[in-house]
Symmetry: C2
Subunit: 529 residues, 2 copies
């Protein structure tokens, strides 16, 4: 549209219905999107980037040496492409200690030798060793059961949890979203979140759990084994997160130190064991066999420090003070290499920046990439960034009537996040923002034939777009095919490079680049709720 | 039928068509089958037996201490039930050495630490250690590639195989036979074997493989890592069998020493690595990183000796010289506990004997249980037993015109074997023996409503019934639901107790006991081909 026509149109636009106006305002840069597709599909670097983030620098537990190395790699890589203002965005608050595993091995020496499939929990202390010790199964189902272990746990390795039931896998690990599910999402209202299938944590009453931990500490147990919690399929796959810091039920959540806190109380070494091997030990004990274990567990802590994110920009032109953001969390859990959670998102965002830079893209608005730390500990990196940059909300209840926004928030357009595994983008969660429909519908058009065409008003939760959404800033997650995310790779020892699906990651990088480009060159900032 | 009527019937039976006669001759002992069902479903010991064979005495590699302990347990258990003539049936030929793993751990020390999911091959030698060594990936796809590794393998741990491609699991691990498959089997001729899904071994040309092994030996590599071969689903599951003894392609199979032979040449330590971890190391190397490993591998060998089977009997009464046999192989591979292959079959056979003894069963023919050794090395235990007991065939071509049978073979009735995992019996492979249809059809009747009703003329192969079948002796495998046998547990590190399906094993034990009872009390011995 020529400038004169645009002025004319603007002058009379109050006569047009709002939606129609919005639609007419929206333009698709088909030439640029074709170039993005060509670059992203023909010259993709996404798997190379992924391999560096996972095989070489993974896992990337927040503030660990692996996280630092991955951040260094991401920074250097962005700079090598000509991305500007690349820096570590250090939080203005402490995160805690970094941690890494230096050496680990668990072996059953008797009644029959076998190397145990197991992995230590993050931030567990090590143990001077290798130590050999008998295993005791803590068969405590109610408080009265505690007494029978008095005097029997000193120097023992304790099998702490109940066995995890294992079932044959009659349902496939991997799925793609079928039309009926997508239709349900398309026809859904704003509140219903599509949660996918996630593992079920232990359902033990908190009070009893604390009494058990307390017993172990008082009696002098030397280490704790827990069965990997029941996910849908086991097969030796371990689900491992942070070490438990036991607190009585009455201590409120915010008063509890986390395992990574600088001031964490002394806790017992904690190891998660594959369900099949844990159950085997329990049955050996129940068959009257003495189970003798050998545990090697060396861990290292780095000094407590603030966390940091990685930020970089493609500076805008006439609207350079306004910003479009894309991002994903760089940190991960530690028993795999954090491939689908969330090197996948990180490599897609990096590759989107590479595509744009390699095309010499010069957007109107600034396009900013953010790779967050501390997501796994509660979206810490994005929350801290958003608070420092865009403001905060004094009252957590909706609507946003207690917002204290910075001027930067007024210049903010939109944020796109990826954090649902390796699966292909199939559309966008609109987070209840009906105004987002018109631009998103148009931007999806070049990807409809590739299977990405669904818009849902539903919210989706659990990751970094929430830090923006909490302030009413437009921030979205894509709808993704689940592949094996909820069943096999999420927080597990199988979250490894080979679980990534190459065509899906290429598709996502191309779509992210296209959406960032469209948002950066739109007449208006992205519409808010 | 009263005795007089039976005599009368026999006298005029030549007037009746054969099939009709057979049908009239066949009787179902419904009272006894009800008692068997009640005992087997209400008082089952099958999971306890399974736990002892797997959790406590597994794995049971032929001639290993585990095999010996499991055999001791089976013998003592049979005796405790009052089964008679329980003994170790020692082969009249050498098997070779027993082997067991004493200690194993493989760790990647750099570029980033991780404990590697891996398991040594059976009969691999150990290594004085722990040793730390660099990894070299042997990227040899054709003979000319060999030269580039000259002088570069000394003291190295060699990644020997190509990476194993890993795909998301869009197909479930576990299945049951659906009607369409059963119908196909029911309508099938005798020759087509239902093979199920088995893993694909490496497809490398034999000549090149030998040249690679030879290079490693000559250059002084210290250990060999191979990726777990591609099965349908990986997820860290290892498929592990015996160590490779390399021979040039021109050396015929029968001239090659096996890894368990007393006279095996010196071979390199060999370890199978989970595909995802193996591929990771290859990518690390290809990314220009030095990969440093630490390997601990202690193994122990027992002196070479003949193998042995476990045999026991419920003596018959008026036809006690005639014998009905049930059996399964007791030996297993070693990276799991040999649960579905084949403690499942062994515990079903033991439980069938328990059921019969607990009911005070006094069969007309002797019912004999056999738990075989050496099945995994080529049906060695059953072949040796059959040869000693029933005779041999001088010419391996069909028909059986070169049989040299013993008098015992004339007294032999039928053998039932189980060796297709934990899955429920759904019918019987008739091995091309049409004459088997009438009795088997009748014996299936009490199990039709439980899902076992299909007879197929097809042969099924790969296990111990073949040793009998080769002499024309009636010997059958049951059709079983696959569950996760071909996809997850067969010869893998996941062949563990939790993969057993309790209701299926109970069902199989009950059916085995009923079939043995029917065969033992039939008027005639079981009809032959």
């Amino acid at each position: 549209m020529k400038k004169f026509l645009r002025l004319l149109f603007t002058a009379f636009s109050f006569l047009l219905p709002a939606a129609l106006m919005a639609q007419q305002q929206e333009k698709l840069d088909t030439a640029m999107i074709s170039r993005i597709k060509k670059e992203g599909f023909d010259n993709s670097q996404v798997m190379n980037i992924l391999s560096m983030l996972t095989d070489v620098h993974g896992p990337r537990l927040t503030n660990s040496p692996g996280y630092r190395k991955a951040a260094d790699y991401a920074k250097a890589t962005l700079e090598s492409w000509g991305v500007q203002n690349v820096h570590f965005d250090t939080w203005n608050e402490e995160f805690g200690t970094g941690w890494e595993l230096k050496k680990f091995s668990l072996q059953t020496l008797s009644p029959v030798y076998f190397p145990v499939i197991a992995y230590p929990k993050a931030w567990t202390p090590g143990i001077k060793g290798p130590v050999q010790a008998e295993a005791v199964y803590l068969d405590i189902k109610k408080e009265e059961d505690l007494a029978k272990y008095k005097g029997k746990l000193k120097g023992k390795i304790v099998l702490f949890s109940l066995p995890t039931p294992v079932k044959p896998g009659f349902v496939p690990d991997a799925t793609r979203l079928v039309d009926s599910v997508l239709l349900q999402m398309a026809n859904s209202g704003p509140t219903e979140a599509f949660t996918g299938r996630r593992f079920q944590g232990a359902q033990e009453p908190q009070r009893l759990a604390y009494l058990k931990w307390d017993l172990l500490q008082k009696e002098g147990a030397i280490a704790v084994l827990e069965a990997s919690p029941a996910s849908r399929l086991e097969d030796g796959t371990l689900t491992v997160a942070a070490a438990t810091v036991p607190y009585p039920a009455e201590v409120p959540n915010e008063k509890r130190a986390r395992a990574y806190s600088a001031n964490v109380p002394k806790i017992l070494p904690q190891v998660v064991v594959a369900a099949e091997h844990y159950n085997r030990m329990v049955r050996q004990l129940q068959n009257g066999q003495a189970v003798k274990l050998e545990l090697t567990l060396e861990t290292a802590f780095t000094p407590a420090a603030p966390g940091f994110n990685v930020i970089g920009e493609i500076p805008g032109t006439d609207l350079k003070d306004e910003v479009v953001m894309i991002g994903a969390h760089l940190d991960s859990w530690h028993s795999g290499t954090g491939t689908t959670d969330n090197a996948a998102g990180s490599c897609v965002m990096l590759e989107a920046m590479r595509i744009l830079k390699s095309l010499g893209a010069s957007p109107r608005r600034t396009i900013r990439i953010a790779l967050w730390g501390g997501e796994e500990q509660g979206l810490l990196g994005s929350r801290n960034y958003v608070k420092r940059t865009f403001g905060s909300r004094l009252d957590k209840s909706y609507p946003y009537d207690s917002l204290r926004l910075t001027p930067a928030a007024e210049k903010f357009s939109v944020y796109f996040n990826m954090d649902n595994g390796t699966g292909k983008y199939r559309g966008v969660y609109m987070q209840g923002n009906e105004a987002a429909r018109t631009p998103l519908r148009l931007w999806l058009k070049p990807f409809e034939k590739l299977g990405a065409s669904t818009l849902t008003l539903r919210n989706t939760s659990g990751t970094d777009h929430l830090s923006f959404d909490a302030l009413g800033l437009p921030a979205f997650q894509f709808i993704q095919d689940p592949i094996e995310y909820g069943t096999r790779t999420h927080h597990t020892s199988m979250d490894l490079f080979d679980k990534a699906v190459e065509p899906d990651l290429k598709h996502n990088a191309v779509m992210t680049a296209a959406f960032a480009w469209q948002a950066a060159n739109r007449e208006e900032k992205f519409p808010r709720k």
